[in-house]
């Protein structure tokens, strides 16, 4: 009798590790504070993916946990340590660039593999073999934008307005300016703003207007962009507008006059209006659960968890593996696999952790995104 009991217990214990247990996956992001919109979205996207995967009949299961870093590097490291104490095996890094630079260094030192949904600064992955990105790295957005504007002959004279206390904005602006000449663009006006003087843009707009810019490039998030659009309209300046992925979200701002954004072009990996089945399913679920249209951050979070699911399945990894073993397997997988997600098909990663996928050119027409090509 005793023997049978012991055997039964052993079988139970084994099956628990083999089937019942889940990969502990953790991430940090701003869930409160001024940048909370990004952290919350990425977390929610990841949650939906984890729930879907856990409901599927496959071996990979996830135990997802998000900690708040309030978009602060120091708090992000504390949050990362809390996750490590909890037993995190693979990581979603951090959502925003500044904190992600700090946690990526920890990921590298601790040999815990990280795939950040949306921290796009180049410094996040630089020199770290186990930190990968789901979003475009900032410099690529600048290069891609310059190329796009040049190839489609959207304008010759270009103005750039950027935020000089933000690594995201600076990263994009730097490569845009560097590559503009190559694609036949002339930058006639370049002006900046920062936190605290991001309300009045009359000077920047007057400069662009007086120097005859036909297109204004806005490497920034959508809140300042919405003010720029409104103020340009008030002063009767109507150039072409070109934004990057941070512009995504401008249409979901409550009370925003969508006619202001009419004709605004942007490069973004995710389009909530896309007709493919995957996107539709995700958007529908997100809307049911959280009552809003998912933005690109939510889509990035969603894709991260699915990419992990694919990589773990292919590597035949099990949840009883140590973080370090998983790290080695994940590096192997991510540098070789191809992933299809809601933020793009044929997504591949380079050895340095940067992602390659095609940016989609979008234009806002009648208050909705429409593909440019």
């Amino acid at each position: 009798m005793k023997k049978i009991l012991v055997c039964a217990l052993l079988v139970l214990a084994m099956s628990a590790t083999a089937f019942g247990a889940a990969f502990k996956i953790g991430g940090t992001g701003p869930l409160t504070g001024g940048a909370a919109i990004y952290g919350t979205a990425a977390m929610r996207g990841a949650q939906i993916a984890a729930e879907e995967i856990n409901a599927m009949n496959i071996d990979v299961k996830f135990d997802l946990r998000y900690e708040d870093d309030t978009h602060d590097a120091e708090k992000a490291v504390n949050a990362y340590n809390a996750l490590k104490d909890w037993g995190m095996q693979i990581s979603l890094g951090s959502v925003t660039s500044k904190p992600a630079e700090a946690t990526a260094a920890e990921n590298f030192a601790d040999r815990i593999f990280a795939l950040t949904p949306s921290a796009s600064s180049a410094a996040v992955t630089e020199g770290k073999d186990n930190v990968f990105q789901m979003c475009f790295v900032d410099p690529n957005q600048g290069t891609a934008s310059a190329q796009y504007i040049g190839e489609k002959k959207l304008a010759k004279k270009v103005a750039v307005i950027w935020k000089n206390d933000d690594v995201y904005s600076k990263g994009v602006r730097d490569t845009f300016v560097e590559n503009a000449g190559k694609h036949g663009l002339e930058i006639v006006s370049e002006t900046a703003f920062a936190d605290g003087n991001d309300t009045d843009f009359s000077v920047q707009l007057t400069d662009a207007k007086n120097k005859g810019a036909e297109l204004v490039f806005l490497p920034m998030y959508y809140q300042p962009a919405s003010l720029i659009l409104a103020q340009a309209q008030a002063m009767g300046y109507a150039p072409k507008w070109f934004g990057i992925d941070g512009m995504d979200g401008i249409l979901t701002m409550e009370g925003f006059d969508k006619s202001l954004a009419e004709g605004v072009m942007l490069l973004t990996p995710f389009n909530a209006d896309a007709k493919d089945e995957k996107t539709q399913k995700f958007v529908k679920k997100y809307q049911e659960k959280f009552g809003e249209i998912p933005n690109q951050f939510a889509a990035d979070g969603y894709d991260c968890v699915y990419a992990y699911c694919q990589a773990l399945t292919q590597a035949k990894a099990t949840p009883d593996m140590s973080a370090e073993d998983l790290c080695g397997k994940m590096i192997e997988q991510f540098t070789t696999m191809t992933f299809n997600g809601v933020t793009g098909d044929n997504v591949r990663w380079m050895k340095n952790g940067e992602v390659t996928k095609d940016p989609k050119g979008m234009v806002i027409k009648n208050g909705a995104y429409v593909g440019l090509d």
Partner: protein
């Protein structure tokens, strides 16, 4: 003409700083404390006004009145719960409490209204007065803000110099202990100051968000800091000083952006502040005496 246009942009930005600075300077002048939560009361006022106008489709001016009532009550509650128990505490403790209050309000707003930015509907529309064949334009909201600033300034000055309550406020500002010995209810007077300051914050919130229409839980904090700078610039405690300081700060900021460097505008603004404080330590219109109102 470009110069004049920049000047007008400066004035419109400055008038917003000025109206926020009035609240800072009034509370500092009387209660001798820096109410860092002022910027966040502005944000609450703007949200109340936003919901009244955008969701319940009330008349914008009625919305402002509702926001004023809510903010006045909020200001009195904050004062009663957070500042009154510290009346005898060192001023550093009060300052830290005010910063804590500021974070508390911001995070409560985050829970209540989420971090998604909202676009504030202007209370007077987005039109502008065109001068010189449209070469020069002054938006309605700028004109309204300046008029509001002047009216509030005049009313406050009259209130403080002519009414009995105003007299009590001046007495408290000069010497709380002596005022109490003379039979003035110091606590009630300071509560009243907060009530007025918070009511002003609601007006400032509606005007701030009408001029620069993104509304988030952190909307009030940075303009609040700038306005505080403006109040110090003009001489903290002085009501006309806050007005002057606000306008000058706005104009300097825009000119620095336009003619020096858009990247260095804040450095220039604060550089000027340092120079002014070196020459006139009490600020432009501040007096070095005990009485500051």
């Amino acid at each position: 003409m470009t110069f004049l246009n920049f000047f007008i942009s400066g004035i419109s930005l400055g008038s917003i700083y000025a109206i926020i600075a009035l609240g800072y300077t009034m509370v500092y002048g009387i209660a001798k404390m820096l109410n860092f939560a002022h910027g966040d009361v502005i944000m609450v006022g703007a949200y109340v006004c936003f919901y009244a106008v955008a969701r319940y489709e009330l008349n914008p001016f009625l919305g402002v009145v509702i926001a004023m009532i809510v903010c006045t009550i909020l200001g009195m509650i904050v004062e009663r719960l957070a500042y009154k128990p510290l009346r005898q505490a060192p001023s550093l403790a009060v300052l830290i409490t005010a910063i804590g209050m500021s974070y508390f309000l911001q995070n409560t707003a985050l829970l209540l209204w989420s971090s998604n930015p909202k676009v504030f509907p202007s209370i007077v529309g987005r039109g502008a007065f065109k001068l010189f064949d449209g070469e020069l334009s002054i938006s309605h909201i700028t004109a309204l803000t300046i008029i509001a600033c002047l009216v509030i300034m005049a009313v406050l000055t009259l209130f403080i110099s002519k009414t009995k309550m105003g007299k009590a406020m001046r007495a408290c500002s000069e010497d709380k202990g002596a005022a109490q010995l003379m039979g003035i209810n110091v606590n009630a007077t300071i509560s009243m100051t907060f009530a007025i300051g918070s009511g002003l914050a609601a007006v400032a919130g509606a005007l701030l968000c009408s001029a620069y229409p993104t509304l988030m839980p952190t909307t009030g904090s940075l303009p609040g800091i700038k306005a505080f700078t403006a109040a110090v610039f003009g001489g903290i405690g002085s009501i006309p000083g806050a007005f002057l300081g606000g306008l000058m700060l706005g104009v300097i900021e825009i000119f620095a952006k336009a003619y020096i460097s858009s990247q260095l505008s804040d450095a220039v603004v604060f550089g000027v502040l340092i120079v002014v404080l070196l020459v006139k330590p009490a600020g432009l219109l501040g007096k070095m005496t005990q009485e500051k109102v």
